[in-house]
């Protein structure tokens, strides 16, 4: 590829965008599942109580992490989408320009 030449496989980039959007949806759904599940409802007493508190805190933190991961995946997809749109818009404008007499 020559210097300054740009080559983009639109199909592969679109596939990647779809993958990251799918990842974002799944990660968000799992985050919700973890946040809404009642963890450590299986025990009482000192040992169970301690683990209940810990499991709840871990679930809350993991849910937040997964939500962040999903949000980041959505951002990756948005950025790629925006980049492709810019290329496609520029391409259309150049084509229009060359048709002019």
């Amino acid at each position: 590829m020559a210097d300054g030449e740009m080559r983009v496989d639109i199909g592969d980039v679109r596939d990647t965008i779809a993958f990251y959007r799918g990842f974002a949806a799944v990660s968000g759904a799992v985050a919700t599942d973890l946040a809404t599940h009642e963890f450590a409802s299986w025990g009482d007493g000192a040992d169970g109580g301690l683990l209940r508190e810990r499991f709840s805190a871990m679930a809350r933190r993991m849910s937040e992490n997964l939500r962040t991961n999903g949000s980041d995946a959505e951002t990756v997809a948005d950025n790629l989408d925006r980049g492709l749109s810019l290329i496609e818009t520029a391409d259309a404008q150049i084509a229009l320009f060359w048709r002019m007499p």
């Binding site: 590829m1 740009m6 080559r7 983009v8 496989d9 199909g11 592969d12 980039v13 596939d15 990647t16 993958f19 990251y20 799918g22 990842f23 799944v26 990660s27 799992v30 599942d33 973890l34 599940h37 963890f39 450590a40 409802s41 299986w42 025990g43 009482d44 007493g45 040992d47 169970g48 301690l50 683990l51 810990r54 499991f55 805190a57 871990m58 933190r61 993991m62 992490n65 997964l66 962040t68 991961n69 980041d72 995946a73 951002t75 990756v76 950025n79 790629l80 980049g83």
Partner: protein, 225 residues
């Protein structure tokens, strides 16, 4: 074992517990040294405090979450390469973002996997302990003692069908079985909780291959809020 089967075992063992308590009275009448039935029921309740199906539900939830995300995460490195090949001039910032995202997902998956495995192991271990416990209670509460039903034991002694000492020995042996099984189960459950606690200690306080970006991959809990 299915949840329904374990529930059925528990229900049957409660009947056996009632029967065992009846036998205690017979044993006492025959001169055996037996515990008070309230004490026996208290021991049963102590073991019964753990709802293993809820623990299994936690394990199922965590293992499912890990499985679902891992199936997607395994594609991330390939997607990253595909993207760089498909768009050779993709910006460094976007490339770094993709890499950092993959690293954070991996770190969280390690925590999720270890947490799920520890919980699955605890659920499985406690279930095995309870199965053994319920069977022991069934044996202790077997309604025929020396071949006669508990309710008919006094009559059998009077009729000379069975000796009081034989009844006392049989019931004493059942008390020993119950006590030993209760101790083993109680200690076993405590050990399972201890192991689960230790495993989650590591997950909560450690930094399992966490990336430098502190937003993810760690589950530090103590004083981190």
């Amino acid at each position: 074992m299915s949840n329904t089967a374990l529930t059925a075992m528990r229900t049957r063992s409660l009947d056996s517990l009632d029967s065992f308590c009846t036998l205690l009275r017979v044993g006492r009448d025959c001169g055996a040294i037996v515990p008070d039935k309230d004490e026996v029921r208290k021991r049963y309740r102590q073991i019964d405090r753990v709802n293993v199906s809820d623990l299994a539900s936690d394990a199922f939830m965590l293992a499912g979450a890990h499985h679902t995300l891992a199936a997607l995460a395994v594609q991330i490195p390939g997607r990253s390469v595909l993207l760089r090949n498909a768009w050779t001039q993709v910006g460094d910032s976007l490339g770094s973002m993709v890499t950092a995202h993959g690293d954070r997902v991996d770190a969280d998956l390690i925590v999720l996997r270890d947490w799920a495995e520890a919980t699955v192991a605890a659920a499985s271990g406690i279930e095995q302990l309870l199965i053994t416990w319920y069977r022991a209670v069934d044996r202790a509460g077997e309604p025929l003692v020396c071949g006669v039903p508990a309710d008919g034991a006094a009559e059998a002694v009077r009729a000379g069908t069975v000796s009081p000492s034989l009844l006392a020995d049989d019931i004493s042996a059942r008390v020993t079985l119950f006590d030993t099984a209760a101790d083993t189960t109680d200690n076993g459950i405590a050990e399972m909780f201890h192991v689960l606690g230790t495993a989650t200690d590591d997950l909560a306080g450690g930094a399992p291959i966490a990336p430098s970006d502190s937003r993810s991959g760690q589950l530090a809990l103590a004083g981190d809020e």
